[in-house]
């Protein structure tokens, strides 16, 4: 039992962590939390099943296409729902514009793909006798994706100028603008990057979570919990929080039932935020007057 709690919990947790990173990547370039993070995760599964299972593409081509779709949706999100709102006086309306867009995509999915959860094909043909088969690929794929993402982001932020430009905009967008950094272009790029990460989360997690339009609200929430608790913008917080959340959920599922887990996560989420609105690792807020 412990084994399945850990394997399933860590795998789901890795998906949550990746969705959390998706939130973060969008947030740091725009100060916007976008409801599209869960949507990207949902689509990663649905589009993967569509390309590979229904259209018969090979796994690699399907994977690349899914990531491309994620990037495209990221760009559309930025242009359609974020850019106009950031220009207006009531910037907090991004909450509604991103939610509306995510709902529209979800509804199209429900109508065109169907409202039933559909299976997702195994991606990598593995000899059942090999070492790789000891743990099912559906468990280690999300973890692998999570590691690749973290290493990739670390390389981007530490080793490339564009990555530093992302960090600069996240810290002080006014100063970045004054220096002549292309703020809009960088914001669009970060939304595309977030699209890739979110789609990858859904794609690699879909053998567990299935290709299901209803994954969207679940991923939206459980991906946001580690971000909110770990402090926004902190990818380390998202990973630790996401994995812990996944294991906790599975343990509760086995021991006391899933409903209790859902209620408990929600209660912890509210209580922690009420006590520390900036998250467990976040910094205090700025002056208001």
């Amino acid at each position: 039992m412990l084994e399945s709690i850990l394997s399933y919990g860590l795998a789901v947790g890795a998906v949550y962590a990746l969705i959390g990173i998706t939130y973060n990547v969008m947030f740091s370039a725009s100060r916007v939390f976008s409801f599209t993070a869960g949507m990207l995760g949902m689509l990663g599964g649905v589009l993967g099943a569509l390309f590979i299972d229904k259209l018969g593409m090979n796994a690699i081509l399907g994977f690349v296409l899914v990531l491309a779709c994620g990037a495209l949706l990221g760009v559309v999100t930025e242009i359609l729902t974020v850019r106009p709102v950031l220009k207006s006086i009531e910037q907090h309306l991004y909450v509604l514009s991103t939610l509306a867009f995510a709902l529209m995509v979800q509804q199209v999915t429900a109508i065109e793909w169907g409202t039933d959860a559909q299976p997702f094909p195994a991606l990598i043909p593995i000899d059942p006798d090999s070492i790789l088969a000891i743990i099912d690929q559906k468990f280690w794929l999300p973890l692998l994706a999570c590691i690749v993402t973290i290493v990739g982001l670390e390389f981007l932020y530490r080793r490339t100028l564009i990555g530093r430009a992302f960090l600069a905009i996240a810290e002080d967008s006014y100063a970045a603008r004054a220096l002549g950094l292309p703020e809009t272009g960088l914001r669009m790029a970060s939304f595309a990057l977030a699209g890739v990460i979110g789609a990858m989360a859904g794609f690699t997690g879909a053998q567990m979570l299935l290709a299901y339009f209803g994954n969207q609200p679940i991923l939206s929430f459980y991906g946001f919990v580690p971000v909110a608790l770990g402090g926004m913008g902190s990818n380390r917080g998202a990973v630790i929080g996401g994995l812990a959340l996944g294991v906790f959920q599975q343990a509760a599922n086995f021991l006391v039932g899933g409903i209790f887990a859902a209620v408990a996560v929600f209660a912890v989420f509210i209580v922690v935020l009420l006590l520390r609105p900036e998250g467990l690792a976040g910094a205090a807020t700025a002056r208001r007057v």
Partner: protein
């Protein structure tokens, strides 16, 4: 001494700007010639920083801004920077989580790698004490060092006009002189400078010409060689309503 040439490097006419409904600047006319240092003085709240922001396009404005013969009335800070008009904003807002070197590199975002590397070294060469700390994160620098870093950022693109907003704020007198000396060196290398400064005496010593801004309008324009300038400035600052002159 360089004076305003027939075709100035920067020419601003009828510029107005503000924050939302609050109009701060009213019909500003101002020119800066190539290779000239112009000081922009004025009491607090007169709109000096606002004017620099309006010129670089950080703030929306009306009126015309011509730079190097090119109309820049509608463009943003990125176009200004590319044209050689660089604005070092007030408050040494460097990126504290990045290294000193990366901070300077970012100022040349979009330039090709080899050239950028050379330019970064040139800019850092002006300030040996921060060049020493090139691999430290900017958060470890003192306020004065951060200000030097901000000025160094402004140098990377070898601008034709550098706008410095209160580069001396929060600096010790020694450091103030260092920053202002760097400005003089730049002028000698052909860069024009538009300087907003609180330290009037130092600014007047360095500058070729001076504008005084009060209540959102230019109230005085003069060469720094003109007589009785400090007194005229004080009058300009306080407006005509003050009957008794300030003792000094």
């Amino acid at each position: 001494m360089p004076t305003s040439a027939p075709e100035p490097l920067l020419k601003i006419s009828g510029l107005s700007a503000g924050y939302g409904k609050i109009g701060v600047l009213n019909g500003i006319d101002l020119t800066v010639g190539a290779g000239e240092i112009v000081a922009l003085l004025g009491p607090n709240g007169a709109g000096k920083s606002t004017l620099l922001k309006a010129i670089s396009g950080l703030l929306p404005r009306t009126g015309t801004v011509t730079f190097g013969g090119q109309d820049m009335s509608k463009t943003g800070p990125r176009e200004a920077v590319n044209a050689g008009l660089v604005h070092v904003v007030e408050g040494h807002r460097v990126f504290t989580q990045l290294s000193v070197h990366d901070n300077v590199m970012l100022a040349g975002y979009g330039m090709n790698g080899a050239e950028l590397g050379a330019r970064v070294e040139e800019a850092l060469a002006f300030f040996p004490e921060i060049a020493e700390k090139r691999n430290d994160r900017a958060v470890t620098l003192s306020g004065g060092q951060q200000q030097m870093l901000a000025v160094a950022q402004g140098l990377v693109r070898k601008p034709r006009l550098l706008m410095l907003d209160e580069p001396s704020a929060g600096l010790s007198p020694v450091l103030v002189d260092r920053v202002l000396t760097a400005a003089a060196q730049l002028r000698d290398a052909g860069t024009a400078i538009l300087l907003v400064e609180q330290l009037i005496e130092k600014a007047l010593k360095l500058a070729d010409r001076v504008y005084a801004l009060a209540r959102g309008s230019i109230v005085l324009e003069a060469h720094t060689s003109e007589a009785d300038l400090p007194n005229r400035l004080e009058h300009a600052y306080f407006g005509q309503d003050v009957s008794a002159p300030l003792a000094s």
